[in-house]
Subunit: 426 residues, 4 copies
């Protein structure tokens, strides 16, 4: 029992620790100044506007992004090694910027300019509006709660009795498996081992922390090494086995990952005062809460995993811009959004993303424009993954606020009221 | 009853019509020649290899892709209008090519070279291997079965009695709504209207065909026009309403869309003879079928929607390359993969994708490199969406075959057998 | 299109018709008198209390229930024919009564005494409290919206091309299938035929109305007759087929049935004024709405189908008492509960049950005590199934109100407040 | 890490321990005699047949069941205290018997006669046939893998920072909570405490073992005591809290409970040789495996939780007969069934039931006929719950085999073959 509680504490060390909470409070106090100049939104794309934004970003962040801006051309093919085969060229994705987005996290806090690569009109403008509301309200609190990436080999036996003999042998070996992990990867740490039995099928769920990498390949290699050891030494051999049982939730939305963690679990929240809801979002807390309640019952009826608005929109654009594994949107875009009216006309809103598979090293993070985009947020390289995950949470929160505002305002009408023609992005 | 059967027939007109079936048979006969030169896979990226591939593609297809190849630089900002706001530059995504992928569809058939934009190593190589196996086996059959995009406004009433009065008035108006649709959009056609009642909430599900566009904005505009009419004329007014109840499955995996259609529903199949499984995929039909069965039980236990391997990988890469709404991977990557061993050592494999939201006009399809990539497959512009969807189905099938082969081979071992070190992509 | 709208109208004829709505309004007006004597709750079981209740029920309904009361003993074995094999005796389930439950339905309206057979303490008392609140508020509105029972055979072909040929032949035959249905069963009517394709698998979904029977066996027999015809005459034969593909949702909670209908779809609602919430439920609308919102986010995170409290409790007890197929609780207990605070301190509450598989003829409805229990509600025999379904909806609503009140009251506390010890049933 | 592995070992102590595995092997050896007389099936219900069965059961087990048989009448009202309120009488449910069902478990092993209370014709006969096949094949292996019942209070805070302060305080207190549990209940033991955070909502998941009781009320009382302590002493108070967040899966099918445990998790398996499949089940392993594969793809498409045939049928009948909380069928009937053809024409089959909420003390287990039915299987009272759960697993396995045989035989036909008219139960 003690050990189990200890485990829960370890897993929740970001939120369940006094030190982190004190750090958070301190960061919250810092984020009280909102006088900073803001990036103006431009719906029509012009040379002048583009130049102005680039200058603005430089003045705010000191960053130039020559490859993204097309000022340097990319011609260093060998940097693509390990990212692509049968290379023929570079697809170009229009990239806009939103911000400043003020984020108070456990890792870092500050005001960020967020690059979003998309071809879907209105997306950047919508997220920008949400970011503005968050900024004016003092910023979003965003916390990376738990981390863990799984690989889940399956072993099949003749009978469940043989499975039991195998399992009795394998479970005491976790210290050794941790040792194998350390010898296989500099970054991966084995943090949990669970077993799932279905008839004569045994799934072993190896869960790792993966440093600042998204880590899917890393955990495959470590698990393969462990399985080699197991297969060589086990007194009872499986009939066959596979390195992945399709239980780990890789590249798919699953209820299992949704109620556990896959990558990083982040929760972000904000309280928007009435005045900002009125001036920036052009609606009311009541209308937004009403929309939330109604649409939550709608999405339950659709048989979704989780309940949210359009998390995928902003997250996909951010993943493309920053060299994440974009196919992981399948799982990363699962989450919970919640909105509640408070007594004084303010709105409480939160988003929770349990399957945020992101990294700031490895994968596509060192590619030309991707690295620039990570650097724009000071999120490139080691020691930045948790911070980046917390920024992701705040971006998603901004987007959920904006779409709920769009859907609740104007349309939140009595029947006799004439509707405005409005293009709704989602 | 007759009307209902007629509706089912209309919806399944691609598969449930003698003419289409005859066309398919004819196309199947055409696809018997497999002597064509093949694109060699190159894992290491070199100048020479890149040049060679570009030449090969030119010789096979007559296509040059100057923007993708970086030969022309992009500088026509106003083509980005409607795709982005707050533009600062272009993110560059490494793009590889696989093929020829032979596809027999209801719309077109032939051998295609498929552009995949990704930063995930091994993905292109894996899909290329699957494409090779399909090509040598005579090509995949891929059929777009049904089409439909939904927008689902919700109306809230004081009581269910008021809801009933409203519904009694609204249901007979579908012809008029069709008329409104025609006046609002050149492409959209209202093909179905359903109602879902939960207490005093009424969700009206408007389903449209959207021509060759993905169509989400189009259906929003049409539904808004219809709702304006409703709100002006309804004898009983709702307390409030929203243009979207979050029931339509936009940007999320839902059981409802999975068991209906969202965008296009495509099914693709192939029978791989034993010799090709051995030579190209380095495994056996039995091992692949065993893997399929085991991993299907695994994915059921994970609480996924559908059951598949890594559909998201190839589809995301193809969506990025061709200007699709990449966030729709959330719903598009839901599907069913099936593999069965046949008596003679062959393998039957199929994939079914009920939520393929794709288009060949609108959205990002006219962007610089995206248009080139669509043209590479002769899929740019009007009249091409169904063909493109059928190609998507075949690409996904190739990828599912390749990963199942990787996971089943080598690892499908008795316990005493030494394992090879292998990087598994997914 | 017109035909599709017509179909929707036919399916929703209960709610989408002016006549029914007028009938409902009329019934609502009738249900305004609440002076009737009420059944007192007795937590301790005594001879006197039992006798008193039986007398009360007789005085209110004129019903004696000699077999349930143990006054007659059951000894007519042949009445069990078709209900059981290897009979050895009768299990006895304690049965309590709640009421009057006032129900305004499309079929009937009035005050009902509801028999609940259970061994779970507090269940009857909890539902009785909910019923009392509903009665004092003028009764619940409960509407059977749609009806349909499915049987879903699957046909497997060599290839999807053969499947297409088969489908092209089968779809125009629905009139003939309707004819076969009429010749096979006096009660069943074929109301819809849909097709679902996955690779070379074709599932045909036959949907029937089944009169006043739950109808699962009836639809199996009709579908078997239809399939015999198909297999004899189809120009392309399937490799094999099964009468049920496990798609129909029989005896299991499924997202598909939840978003369609299985059996009967019922929605019930009530508005409870503040005074009744305070006096009967000992809580407030705000606390109940807060509980609803919080627990809805909780149940979403648990990965449930639908979102409700303890529908299964009352429905199971009612199913056992009335001879329903109790195993169907698996699917029938899926639904949506919603609670909202209104401006004046009142509470709006509704439940929606899309999979209510119930009957008043066939199955166990003619068994000794079961028939008495159906008669107690004037629900035995032909012409009563829709009424019984509407009563089920109102019973479930009463139970959802009572548990939400229990969970929100007392426990809806600041931290310094001492809690009362309370046994919570669920 | 060590502690986590230890926890996994503790949780899987039944299967992951050498002693248990040795016991199982020993039990398997004992179960080799199959010469015992068998109970004949009687489809028509007669006095003679009933008497003969009662005599047979007496001769095999020494049990008389006077209350079930109607030989004694029930008249001891105060035994109903705590099981019912507003009592009016006893509902009578026809009860049949199947067996002998041979079960090899970790707790006990032997041949059992199983009482099933139902009104659904063919159910008992179908399960009896499956039991016969299992018996002749040497019996099913059935193992209770894990146990745990949850109660999941939710605490709401102003902000996630306050939540963090509260959590930091509460997590180290698990030893104290264990102490509170011991003081509150003789049977309950707190075995795990987990935390789930969503914005400012904190769900604490208390998991208990509950001895031989199903335990839902027991865990409510213990959790309430713990929460009282928390609310009195916590340095940061929640805005409000509820004893149940609707996350625990009580009375509903949820993906969360399905991938964890609720009550007891049991897996049962059997290998049926070809000869028994032919003679008893009238089909082949290939046909059954084909049916399994096809229907598994069917049930995936229906959006079920898990994948099985008609678990609910037998389990409901057994729950009614033995005084279980029948409403828990909602969750208990979730599971996985698997069938595979083996090289020699034999069939491997297994069922896995992760949410088996059952008890042999408390609830309805001491009611008149219910106690007799538990005694018939030597499952009444303390020390019997695990054994009873393992019998449940074997009963379900028998039923799954029988329905798969019915659906695969006869109907597994070429198209030209005439079908027999057959009533399919499910």
């Amino acid at each position: 029992m003690a050990s189990s509680a200890e485990k829960t504490r370890n897993r929740l060390k970001n939120i369940g620790s006094f030190d982190i909470i004190e750090k958070l409070k301190e960061n919250l106090n810092k984020n009280s100044d909102t006088e900073k100049d803001r990036l103006p939104i431009e719906l029509k794309i012009t040379e002048e506007g583009t130049t102005e934004r680039r200058n603005f970003i430089y003045s705010e962040t000191g960053k130039t992004l020559p490859l993204l801006y097309g000022e340097h051309s990319f011609n260093n093919l060998n940097t693509l090694e390990g990212n692509i085969e049968n290379f023929i060229g570079m697809s170009m994705i229009p990239t806009g910027v939103i911000g400043p987005l003020r984020v108070t996290g456990t890792d870092d806090n500050g005001d960020f300019y967020i690059p979003l690569a998309t071809s879907e009109g209105a997306l950047v403008a919508s997220y920008h509006r949400g970011a503005k509301a968050c900024y004016l309200a003092g910023g979003a609190t965003s916390i990376c709660l738990v981390e863990g990436v799984q690989r889940s080999p399956v072993f099949k036996f003749n009978t469940i009795v043989e499975l039991g003999s195998f399992l009795s042998w394998v479970l005491p070996l976790t210290d050794h498996f941790r040792h194998i992990t350390e010898n296989t990867s500099r970054y991966a740490k084995l943090i949990d081992l669970k077993a799932n039995i279905e008839g004569n099928h045994l799934i072993l769920i190896f869960e790792y922390s993966t440093g600042d990498a998204a880590g899917q390949n890393m955990v495959t290699l470590c698990t393969d090494e462990i399985c080699q050891y197991i297969l060589e030494h086990a007194p009872v051999k499986p009939e066959f086995w596979f390195i992945e049982s399709n239980y780990s939730g890789d590249k798919k939305a699953t209820a299992y990952s949704f109620s556990n963690v896959r990558g990083k679990k982040v929760t972000a929240e904000i309280i928007l005062p009435e005045s900002i809801i009125t001036s920036v979002l052009k609606t009311t807390a009541r209308a937004m809460a009403e929309y939330w309640r109604t649409s939550t019952v709608g999405v339950i009826q659709s048989g979704a995993i989780g309940a949210q608005g359009h998390i995928a929109n902003g997250l996909t654009a951010l993943f493309i811009a920053t060299g994440q594994d974009v196919a992981c949107i399948s799982e990363a875009a699962v989450g919970i959004t919640r909105m509640e009216e408070k007594e004084d006309g303010a709105l409480y809103a939160s988003v929770t993303l349990p399957n945020l598979i992101v990294g700031t090293v490895g994968g596509g993070t060192a590619l030309p424009t991707q690295k620039e985009c990570l650097e724009l947020m000071d999120c490139a390289g080691e020691g930045k993954a948790r911070k980046f995950a917390e920024i992701c949470g705040a971006v998603v929160l901004a987007g959920e606020l904006s779409i709920a505002a769009a859907l609740s305002s104007g349309h939140f009408t009595g029947a006799h009221k004439k509707l405005g023609r409005k293009k709704v992005k989602s």
